[in-house]
Symmetry: none
């Protein structure tokens, strides 16, 4: 049984303000993934979270904000997880592998989250514009920095535009994830990370 102080430290425990928010956000992942963002009703999310419909609005300004919160919460976790994982890894290729594995592992671990990320979050320019300009930029920055670092160390070709390469790598991983959720086969998404990184590092050419 958690002590009061430990409960306060874990914001996902309901009871705290931030905890309730996270709990609703987590319930929304399930609901949005299963019914789609537009079909899902706020009341569905509330029911899944075990609260009344009106209560949602004590923690979120709108239905849209719930969706955005899923993105922000996950990206935040992902970015700091990546930062942590990269500590001590110096080999450029290993750094890329590390980021790619975390990316696909995070989505491959939670199919509902993957569906929300790969499909429901792409509803409209309204979201996409909003999202790109925030944590997604930071996340792409991590990829670009890893590549630039490899170029600085001489491991990666210097004439390549690291921003373009970062986008390309992100796009490739993103496509892996989208294919995975659309596929009826159940394979391990994370295992594709190394193949993708190998392809990017070595290229197609013999």
């Amino acid at each position: 049984m958690p002590t009061l102080s430990s409960a306060r430290r874990d914001p996902s425990r309901s009871g705290t303000q931030a905890g309730k928010r996270a709990a609703i956000s987590r319930a929304a992942v399930k609901v949005f993934a299963r019914r789609g963002f537009f079909n899902a009703q706020v009341a569905d999310v509330a029911r899944a979270a075990g609260i009344a419909a009106g209560t949602v609005y004590l923690y979120f300004r709108s239905k849209d904000e719930i969706l955005v919160s899923i993105f922000e919460r996950t990206m935040e976790e992902g970015i700091s997880e990546s930062r942590l994982a990269l500590e001590g890894v110096t080999d450029p290729v290993e750094r890329l592998r590390c980021l790619a594995r975390l990316h696909l592992r995070r989505l491959g671990r939670d199919r509902d989250l993957a569906v929300v990320f790969q499909v429901e979050l792409r509803q409209s320019t309204k979201f996409i514009e909003q999202l790109s300009s925030s944590q997604l930029r930071t996340y792409l920055g991590q990829l670009r920095d890893a590549i630039a670092h490899g170029q600085a160390s001489g491991a990666f070709a210097a004439q390549i535009n690291p921003t373009l390469a970062a986008k390309a790598l992100f796009g490739a991983l993103d496509e892996m994830a989208t294919n995975w959720i659309l596929s009826t086969r159940r394979y391990d998404l994370a295992s594709e990370a190394d193949d993708v990184v190998d392809l990017f590092v070595n290229g197609l050419a013999t």
Copy 2:
């Protein structure tokens, strides 16, 4: 100036059944791109096409079908354009370049179409599942065949999974397109095609 008979052969001329359909579909690209699919009303599309709202339903079963028709029409054109362009190109790298350029050129030429493709068409699993299983599969097949052909000729490494590489390349190009429409800068999208292909062919490694 087209003769009467050539005009009959061109289905984008209104007058023919298919011509009207295409005209409405083209009007819808503009409307959906500017207002978003959900915000756009069928009446807006009709007005843009210069017809009455009800007339839309003589050519489309539903609002959804209009969106799908945009995808199908463009993919159809794209696939046959690609097929045509590849004729006579034998060098594996050139084949990839050819496909990548056409992909980005098609979207870079028509920002509205690009917005619809990169954003509005990703509304929900409903669309995505439907689309992936059709022409998108064919399109990915063209990329995969180009890679497999390179492997057969010895130009590309045999141990690479051509399907995975095709998806990765598609994802990379897709990401370029999405970044382009979200960017406020107006740069030439198609010019990125070569850089992406170079990256895929040569890899990051020195």
Copy 3:
């Protein structure tokens, strides 16, 4: 093969103005009975009549008018048929039997017509008011006259209000017809005519 002159005499033969009208009206009976007046589209009626949708409006001012025409056509036929049949019948009870049998035989012979009469024609006060004030009044008059005639001859009790009795008899027959079309059993509607008349003539009392 009908001669030209005989064809002219039969207005239900298409070719003449009145013939086309009757043909459309007959097609409408089928369509309205099967789909309901509101669900049925004018185009359905046109198709059933083997003509184009617009052509209907050369013979009818509106969809409503088609429905009314069914009523008028059938009532007209029914009234003159009744008049003819009553000629030479002098016994008051036989006169009632005659009218009742014709009423139920007409509907029992054509289930579609019965459905339109018993259900679709009762759409709204709009129709009912219109219809009651016309041929229905004439038809009720035939019943009332038959009863009044029986009273004059001393066969029927004089203190009974013949108008009320006529309405009651009509209502009873009407209910028989409605029950018949709603029943899943297929029994002979006309055979109930005598039972109803017997009941009205002799009463329940022993």
Copy 4:
């Protein structure tokens, strides 16, 4: 003056779930009678009930269901009212009189309700089939039982089919009601009950 507890027992008081439903249903009687079911908008009903349009759908699944609820509510009341009134009445003729009077009194008391019952509820087979197979059957059963009871007591002729006689009587009363609402004269509908029953009991014959 009702006490608090008796108020709770009365479901027509708004406040309770059933009370709100009944209130909307009663408002709908007025609106449907005046404008016709098809012309009436759900918003009209809501306005008449003093609530917002959307609120109607918290108590009814559809516009159709409102119409059906009017039928069900009235039939329910009518059936139990009849049952109660028949208690202690043993004379067969009096029992018929009792049922007939209640039938016509109920409609004659509320012209709007009568219009809805005699006209708007006969919209289509959809309603009629649904309704006949429920409380209408029970109601016809009450008439049939009253007749059968008279036969058992020797007051009514045994060879008459009581079901047919019940339908005939119902049809006669129904026609009285329909004539009443269509008539521009304002006469007392209930006063016709005795005349109709007399006719059914004694017959036309002298």
